[in-house]
Amino acid sequence: MKATLSFLGRRAVIVHRPSDTTDRLLRQCALLGLRAEARWQPLSAVEGVDIVLVDADEGWDGLLPWAPSEKPVPLVALLASEAPGRIAWALDQGADALIAKPVTASAVYPAFVMATRRHAEARQLSERIARLEERVRLRALVHAAVRTFMVTDGCGEEEAYGRLRREAMQTRLTLEQTAASILASPRRQAG
């Protein structure tokens, strides 16, 4: 079970023209323990901001200071329109959740929880993909290290791989890092 999310002390920015919508959002933010401000100007930075809400009905490119793939904080789109272009704009900004306008009180907490989780999951996923890509890139080193062991120890591929893994475990390095250090060592190369 994931713990119930608390937003106490976190900061929200609502990028939306001041209106009944921002009034309702500010009320719910206060109830959830968030410090929130509404503004209708391009956002220049998100330092110290934990969640951003943006008007997807009137938002334009450049309103938010990031490329969609580099979205640094959870993003909630505020949307009354059903126009495909506006939905696409919200998606292009990297929206993690949606609050339909007019805003009902019960829509806010669920959207915040969902956006926070989705944003964290997307981050973990892209970090994981980067790690795996790095490993794929270095796979040739692992093969080379296994071949080296097969020659120096006169053993089969499986045993050589097992030895590489044991060394990696003992030195607390990844397989790839261990393989690189073996290949770089002249002693090993010489056998």
């Binding site: 079970m1 119930t4 608390s6 009320r27 109830l31 009180a105 907490y109």
Partner: protein, 381 residues
């Protein structure tokens, strides 16, 4: 003269009819008591949805659209409240909700006078965990009240270094408690949290009584059943004496010895006979109608927008103590009482002063100290 046409929407029949009857009777008693005393006229429009979602929605619609009500006091379950809220919002009316609930809601069109978890579950567990132990079994009705209360209880227990030894829910109305009781007997918890209501809860308490007879480990002194929704109004139905020793949290008990409560009980005795016990459902509903009437009197209108604004400055004496609504959350400030069942009454074991509601539990996680620091192992890959 200002007229307050008040919708009274409680299920007085069906699975949790006893709760609904107490809520309805509390509201009607308040209207009677206020007649001629306050300077407004209260016209009740009552409807009994009998626990059906469709009936709740239809009756609420009729009260708002055809009967001219702008205020409805009602709904017992959270399911029913959530069913009715969209119609209340559509008419910009006010729903006065009087039952304890699981929190995580603060609708501008609802005034909450029932307690939420920082006013019932948290103080209950702050007492139970140090006093009875940290191995807890969770049961509940299979809907949002049971699910969310069990979830919060699990968080509190785990945070305090305790353990949930089992969790099982039953559909509302289901009395097949055999499996739960067998699990309790096998896993031997230190206490049990029951969020069941009506017939399920009654069957469970009877079965625990039997289990306690066979094995003293499960008597209420050793392994009590605690709840945040069991009140005087269900004790006769369970059987007087059957649930003796079990515990409940509430913001009011009939046995409360205050002037305001003695006055209320005198009125109830005249109206319903001296055997009638007053539950927190009855007393909260009674106090809520008085609060609503006071706000309408001050405003000289029943306009919901004006009433909501005026509530910030209204405090009325009540059997629950001085009743005030926090304008930030629309929730009442409420006291916490812990009662032990004895016959048809609760003996008050502990009381805490009035606390501000914190529906989203943002103020504090828990005050139960963990038993020990958890050892944390990491796997190196």
């Amino acid at each position: 003269m200002t007229v307050l046409r008040l919708g009274i929407l409680f299920s007085a029949s069906g699975d949790y009819g006893a709760l609904g009857r107490d809520c309805r009777d509390g509201a009607m008693t308040a209207i009677e008591d206020l007649r001629g005393v306050c300077s407004i006229v209260i016209e009740p429009v009552a409807g009994d949805p009998a626990g059906s979602s469709e009936r709740y929605i239809e009756l609420a619609r009729r009260m708002l659209q055809e009967d001219g009500c702008r205020h409805v006091i009602g709904t017992v379950t959270s399911q029913a409240r959530k069913d009715v809220i969209p119609i209340i919002e559509k008419h910009d009316a006010l729903l006065w909700y009087v039952c304890p609930y699981e929190g995580f809601e603060a609708n501008p069109n609802v005034i909450y006078t029932g307690a939420c978890p920082n006013q019932h579950l948290r103080p209950l567990f702050e007492h139970m965990l140090p006093a009875h132990g940290r191995r807890v079994y969770l049961t509940g009705a299979n809907y949002v009240w049971g699910w969310e209360m069990n979830r919060l209880a699990r968080e509190i227990v785990v945070e305090a270094g305790g353990e949930i030894v089992g969790e099982r829910c039953l559909p509302i109305g289901d009395t097949d408690v055999g499996r739960i009781v067998a699990e309790v007997a096998a896993r031997r918890p230190d206490f049990i949290l029951s969020n069941m209501l009506g017939p399920s809860s009654h069957a469970f308490l009877r079965a625990m009584r039997e289990l306690g007879r066979r094995d003293p480990t499960f008597r209420p002194e050793r392994c009590p059943v605690v709840s945040c929704d069991l009140t005087e109004c269900e004790l006769p139905e369970i059987g007087l004496g059957v649930a003796d020793g079990q515990l409940a949290a509430a913001s009011y008990f009939d046995s409360l010895d205050t002037l305001a409560n003695r006055v209320l009980k005198a009125h109830v005795a005249v109206r319903f006979g001296s055997d009638r016990r007053v539950s927190s459902y009855f007393a909260t509903s009674y106090a809520t109608v008085c609060l609503c009437a006071e706000a309408v009197t001050r405003c000289g209108t029943d306009d919901p927008v004006k009433i909501r604004a005026a509530l910030a400055g209204v405090q009325t004496p009540s059997p629950l103590g001085p009743l005030r609504i926090d304008p930030a959350t629309n929730h009442a400030n409420l006291p916490f009482l812990l009662g032990r069942i004895s016959g048809g009454d609760f003996v008050i074991l502990q009381s805490r002063p009035t606390a501000v509601a914190d529906p989203y539990l943002i103020r504090r996680r828990t005050s139960v100290q963990p038993l020990r620091a958890e050892p944390r192992l990491r796997i190196v890959s």
